[in-house]
Structures are given as structure tokens and as C-alpha cells.
């Protein structure tokens, strides 16, 4: 399903063929759920939050004019929902300063990651990223969103989003580097 299909299904839903909304849910459920899971850290709560986001999007579908990507719109709803929930529950976002960025990690070679464990390493590294930076990485690298679109979702300024993304990438390299070093020490 390509991005242009979204408008097709949305128009159908707007015209009363609600069942077509399931295509939208199916397409975006993983990323919406991943954002919610990262923030709420509990599968049940994340599932509930993801459902709420889709229902909220459905209810205000008439306000979606198609000027921006539908994905940007749904992620923004999800992100806002998560922020509200965090405020309501007084959960604290992981400190962005908790991971020390080392300059030499910028030269980290991704090919150094063992192929068979690559997914495990990446998942573990993403897990360690703070919530806001995780969302930036998710949108930029998984969803191919531009900085402009990311700034719309997160309400950060474009320059701020750019800086944060740069730091997130560096942190990801630092985490991966540390994990690899740890692995080597264990083997030795």
C-alpha cells in the first residue's frame, strides 16, 4: 500500500464506507503502537492508547484536508495523546542527557554489527533511546519523514528537530558501540 492510497481510502471512509478505515489501521498500527509502547512501557496501555489514537483520528477525519501526509497527521495525534498521558500520569521522559555521547562513536561502522544479531542489537539500542529521540528516529529512518514533517508531528522547530535527530543518531552509535565492546569483553 503506497502513500497515495491513503487519500483513496480516506475519501471512501468520509463517504460513509467506514469499513475501509481498517486498511488505514492495518497500515499504521505498528508504528502507532511502537510510539505508544515506548512512552507507556506497557503493552496493554500502549494498545489502548493506539486504539484511542485511531478512534480520535476517525472522529476528526472530516478535518483532514489532505494537505499533509495522513501518516504525519495520525502520528501527531498519537504523539499528542502520549504527551497528554505522560502529563496525566506524571511519568517522566527519560533524560536526554543520561547517555554520554562520545565523539569517536561518530566513526562507528554499522558493518561491524554481526549480521545474525543485528536486529537484536538495533532493537536493544532503540530501547535505550529516550522517548522523544526514539520517535524522531522512528519517523525519520523507518517512515522516511522529512525534517519538516517531523517538526509538524513533534511541534519542534525544524532546526531543533534536526539537532535532536543528529544527537539521537550519535547516541544510537554510542549505545551500539558500548554493546559491541561489552560483547567482546564477554567473549574474551
Amino acid at each position: 500500500m503506497e502513500s497515495k492510497d491513503d487519500i483513496y481510502y480516506i475519501e471512501k471512509v468520509k463517504n460513509g464506507q467506514t469499513q475501509y478505515y481498517s486498511y488505514i489501521v492495518e497500515k499504521y498500527k505498528d508504528i502507532v503502537f511502537s510510539i505508544a509502547l515506548k512512552v507507556l512501557k506497557n503493552r496493554e496501555d500502549a494498545e489502548e492508547m493506539a486504539q484511542e489514537s485511531f478512534i480520535k483520528a476517525f472522529k476528526s477525519l472530516h478535518t483532514f484536508k489532505g494537505k499533509a501526509k495522513f501518516s504525519t497527521w495520525i502520528y501527531r495525534i498519537t504523539y499528542n495523546n502520549c504527551i497528554s498521558e505522560v502529563r496525566k500520569r506524571k511519568i517522566h521522559f527519560a533524560s536526554t542527557e543520561s547517555i554520554e555521547i562520545k565523539d569517536d562513536d561518530s566513526d562507528f561502522n554499522l558493518d561491524g554489527l554481526p549480521e545474525e544479531n543485528r536486529e537484536k542489537y538495533i532493537k536493544a539500542a532503540l530501547e535505550k533511546l529516550p522517548e522523544d529521540e526514539y520517535t524522531l528516529v522512528l519517523l525519520y529512518y523507518f517512515e522516511d519523514h522529512s525534517i519538516e514533517e517531523i517538526s509538524k508531528v513533534t511541534r519542534l522547530s525544524e532546526s531543533n528537530a534536526k539537532v535532536k535527530l543528529f544527537r539521537a543518531r550519535k547516541k544510537l552509535y554510542t549505545i551500539l558501540n558500548d554493546m559491541l565492546k561489552e560483547e567482546i569483553y564477554t567473549i574474551l
Partner: protein, 135 residues
């Protein structure tokens, strides 16, 4: 240039990772909730904003104003109203009617304003809540 290449590589490595998925019945649950919401929405749409009670009260008000108009144009003259309702002692009715409105007239303006404003607010609230339910 190096960053661009790095970025491309990171993108492909990250994309090879499968994201967390919700339970198998996630989509089904969302759609069921949406259909449920939709049926509530349809119900709210079918519900009339102005109920039967409103129209009865409105009809009574119109009747009252019509009566006021007729009585005021008739004045104390029994002959005028007697044309419409034969055998009616219009003098007594007119007297009572005038007394009633004199009493209402003695109600302070602020109370009348409060009554009027609250009725208006109740109406607006009812109207808006029905609109919100349909959204």
C-alpha cells in the same frame, strides 16, 4: 557526503528491524469500537434538537402573546371580544390579565434578565451538546 552515506546505511539497517506489533485482534477491536461510535453518532443525529416539550411551550407562548394582543386591542370594551367568545365576561378576564402582567412587571429587571439568560443558556447547551455528539 559521509554523513549522507552513513544515513542511508543506518536507514537500511533500521528498516531491516521489525517494529513491535499490537495483538492480532487490534484492528478488529478498533473497527468494532468505530462501528459502535458510529451507531451512537447516527442515533444522536436522528434525535431532534428541539423536542416536543419545546414546541408545546412555544405554542403556549404564541397563544399567550396572541391573547395579549387581542385583549390590548379590545381594551375594556366587552363588545369587541364578545364577538369572538359569546357570553364571556371580558371585564373580569381583562382585569385578571392586567393584574397578572402588573405583578410580572413589578419583578426586578435583574431577575427577569437572569431568567431569560438561563433559559437561553439551557437552550444553547442543549443545542451544542447535540452538535458535539454528532461529531
Amino acid at each position: 557526503m559521509k554523513t549522507f552515506e552513513e544515513d542511508k546505511k543506518l536507514k537500511s539497517v533500521l528498516k531491516s528491524v521489525k517494529l513491535e506489533s499490537p495483538g492480532n485482534d487490534f484492528s478488529l477491536n478498533v473497527m468494532n469500537r468505530i462501528f459502535h461510535e458510529e451507531s451512537l453518532l447516527e442515533k444522536a443525529k436522528r434525535e431532534k434538537v428541539l423536542g416536543k416539550g419545546f414546541w408545546i411551550i412555544l405554542a403556549l407562548f404564541i397563544a399567550l402573546f396572541a391573547a395579549m394582543f387581542i385583549f390590548s386591542s379590545a381594551g375594556g370594551d366587552t363588545g369587541e371580544l364578545g364577538k369572538y367568545i359569546p357570553g364571556l365576561n371580558t371585564n373580569t378576564v381583562t382585569q385578571d390579565y392586567e393584574n397578572f402582567f402588573q405583578r410580572i412587571g413589578s419583578v426586578p429587571l435583574s431577575i427577569a434578565g437572569i431568567l431569560l439568560a438561563s433559559s437561553f443558556l439551557v437552550f444553547i447547551d442543549r443545542f451544542l451538546s447535540s452538535k458535539i455528539r454528532t461529531l
